[in-house]
Symmetry: C2
Subunit: 469 residues, 2 copies
């Protein structure tokens, strides 16, 4: 189906991007581009070459070359993905945007920042905060991930309850199409119905429909104050039932409502040697509020604290300074790390269910966990029903037994998700890792529509093949 790279083609690539920006015939250097953050080795695949272009024009030429010779191209950001999206499963060329890392413009009048895809997401906020502005996208890997990858995956993260996910802020894109055209979609415009919404078809397309070379992001006024609440409950059912009460009776939309089950926070608290009296708790909520008015924020956390206590909370801890706040968030962020002490192999899932179904889902997960004898700590974003249910390999299982077991376990988990009206990925994407499960949860006509769109825009399936469909 695809051709192999030849020395001639590599020479052509060198002419386009410069000799120093092509890696070829160097297995050690290529290895780093063979995987993302999915730990399991069998999802990795070696590229034949890596190219590091510096402009849309270079990428367009590479795409035309790839179409001519039928070589697959896999675009890559920081490689911090969690679904194998940047893995070159059919070999060919990995196109890394690492050199395209400039913040091109901060437009204070229009509240827009224009960036290249290789900018580290955190740097955007570092750059715009001196103007009293902020970019609201906030994946948990904000210190390493690239904005290009965030857009490709439509990254979610911790602030989505109030601010939505990455896509809400993408108002313009310069894109190189799979056939090598450079197309400009949207721009510094806050509304646009001039034809189909190709921007949001591109957002979340996991590098299969286009390569972003310029990204226009909407900015907002930087909130001046924030506060975090850590709320302990006896059980998850009680904890989750508070969430819609905050949103309706309390009329407050928090920035984050994170939850952790006991398997999650007990591991993290022990790992961090954290002194919070967590032993009698069965669930925790971590609620963040932001705003411009400290008094109003205090009123809001009073309301939320009271709502929690009236509805079965054991205790509410308030963190209104950076030190205490960091102490609380460390618990949430260190769950995966804590479990790695127990076993390095885990399958970090990111299913989404309707918020009201979280307790049922967690009950079913406990059943699945017992059935397969696999620990499955659950934590994540309660405010939007996005759950990191994370099967952990028991140390006594061989890798082969683990893979076999995991496959069945995930299938069962995904069927539960589907039955509860949910979806199997809320922020990490389908990629390579979840592709085989898609027919389990989507209707054939739905998958057929995606396939038809892919084929329409990339007739020879050159761009990131082997992903999603």
């Amino acid at each position: 189906m695809y051709n192999k790279l030849t020395n001639e083609i590599v020479e052509e690539l060198k002419k386009i991007v410069g000799t120093n920006n092509v890696i070829y015939d160097d297995p050690d250097a290529l290895e780093a581009y063979s995987h993302d953050e999915v730990a399991e080795k069998h999802y990795a695949h070696m590229p034949e070459a890596v190219v590091k272009p510096s402009s849309a024009e270079e990428i367009a030429r590479i795409m035309k070359l790839a179409n001519k010779y039928k070589i697959p191209i896999t675009p890559r950001g920081a490689g911090s993905g969690l679904s194998g999206g940047a893995v070159p499963v059919y070999g060919g060329i990995v196109l890394s945007v690492e050199r395209m890392n400039r913040i091109l413009e901060i437009d204070k009048e229009n509240l827009v920042v224009v960036v290249e895809p290789g900018v580290v997401t955190n740097e955007i906020n570092n750059a715009v905060k001196e103007y009293g502005l902020f970019y609201a996208g906030y994946p948990m890997s904000v210190e390493t991930c690239y904005i290009g990858g965030n857009v490709a995956e439509n990254a979610g993260g911790g602030r989505a309850v109030k601010y939505g996910v990455t896509g809400r802020y993408v108002i313009g894109l310069e894109v190189v199409t799979p056939t090598g055209d450079i197309v400009h979609l949207g721009g510094k415009v806050m509304k646009d119905v001039t034809g189909y919404d190709l921007i949001h078809l591109m957002v979340g397309s996991e590098g299969t429909l286009g390569i972003f070379t310029k990204i226009y992001l909407k900015l907002m006024p930087l909130p001046q104050a924030k506060v975090d609440l850590l709320v302990l409950f006896h059980d998850m059912d009680t904890a989750i039932k508070v969430v819609p009460k905050i949103m309706t009776f309390g009329r407050i939309i928090p920035t984050s409502i994170e939850f952790m089950d006991d398997l999650s926070f007990k591991a993290a608290c022990k790992y961090l040697n954290e002194k919070i009296p967590f032993e009698e708790a069965g669930a925790m909520l971590l609620i963040e509020l932001d705003g411009n008015n400290k008094t109003e924020l205090e009123e809001q956390y009073e309301i939320i604290g009271n709502l929690c206590m009236e509805n079965g909370a054991i205790e509410v801890y308030v963190a209104d300074n950076a030190t205490t706040s960091e102490r609380i968030w460390r618990i949430r962020r260190n769950i995966a790390e804590a479990w790695k002490q127990f076993s390095p192999h885990q399958s970090l899932e990111d299913v989404v269910v309707p918020i009201s179904e979280i307790p049922t889902f967690l009950k079913k997960i406990r059943e699945i966990s017992n059935k397969y004898r696999v620990p499955i700590p659950c934590y994540g974003h309660a405010g939007d029903g996005n759950i990191h249910a994370t099967p952990i390999k028991p140390p006594e299982l061989s890798m082969e037994e683990w893979h076999e077991k995991l496959e069945k376990l995930l299938e069962e988990m995904y069927v539960v998700v589907k039955e509860l009206g949910g979806v199997i990925s809320g922020e990490h994407g389908i990629g390579h890792k979840r592709k085989k499960y898609l027919p389990l949860v989507l209707e054939p006509a739905h998958i057929e529509m995606m396939r038809a769109i892919k084929k329409a825009l990339d007739p020879d399936l050159i761009l990131n093949p082997g992903k999603i469909i």
Copy 2:
């Protein structure tokens, strides 16, 4: 290319939807379905038949029939569109969703309402407000338009500065595809990256990629207080420069920032016999704030009022009760009506430019207005750069002269928009009316992508042909 309806096909349609729900061979009854709110008669076209299905299953059967006999299908909501999107330009069948007008579910736990496409948008808020909830989509025609049409056009309206446009709230769709499959996208899920974002490809596709049969909308807590400010300025330049100051120095995101030039508000004030001392003003801003805390709102409008006065405003009027508020909004809403007294023919445009380019755009529009000797009042949504520049037919011109002149004038206007980094439609859509101008403002490869997607999902171009591309 398309076939004509026959009596046999009409009989089959009657079997699907019932005899009473097919209009055929009745020009008077069909005429109502030959146009939308675009006044110009030459954009109208008679359908051969109208069908009024009551379910997704019936629509799927109609689509399969239409594919079999190659008859075009044009879906229709309330017919309140402003780009001819519901006009059956190739004849065939108009599919009206008027009977599918049920609110199917108000889910208070998940903050979701599930509706059929024929629900009047305003009814959604009437239904959910008793639960302290609200749907933030707010087209100006909220009392007549259908939610199905809002989704098809990705309707904008007055609240988009704070709340975004319709698409932000669409989290699930049941869609009948152009080939007659029923597909379920998303649902009561707040995040979803399980495959391509087909929901937002459908949103704004103007009835060309699918017919929505169920719409899942995200709800929010109902704000408890609101206030409106009417601010008078000597000129538009000064008025517009306040907008980013509010967003950054003031750190306030208003619900609305509407603007009116003197041609607009003077016509409306005279028409309404409004006593506001508007004579020395050259521009007005109408700023709406909402929130849950009256004290905070007062602080915010103080800040905004002061910012306006420090930056050249003549006067700030505060409306913090429903009566005064309605008096202010009536001015904004009656501009089009006021100008109809002068001349019934106007071309209501909805271009978008970067906010900072509004003054330049308005200057260029005055030049175009002088050149063509056509009044072009400008008003609209300053907070998102969405401008209703509205060429008005001078009474002395014949209709023929007017059409000829308007075509050239619009071309010139759209080129200006393009040069300023804008787009030609922010909320009304391309439809039938602006189709011919698309090559003027979009790159050929961009149009080609849209055409490829349309062809991929609707190979025989059965669904709403003659629109967009």
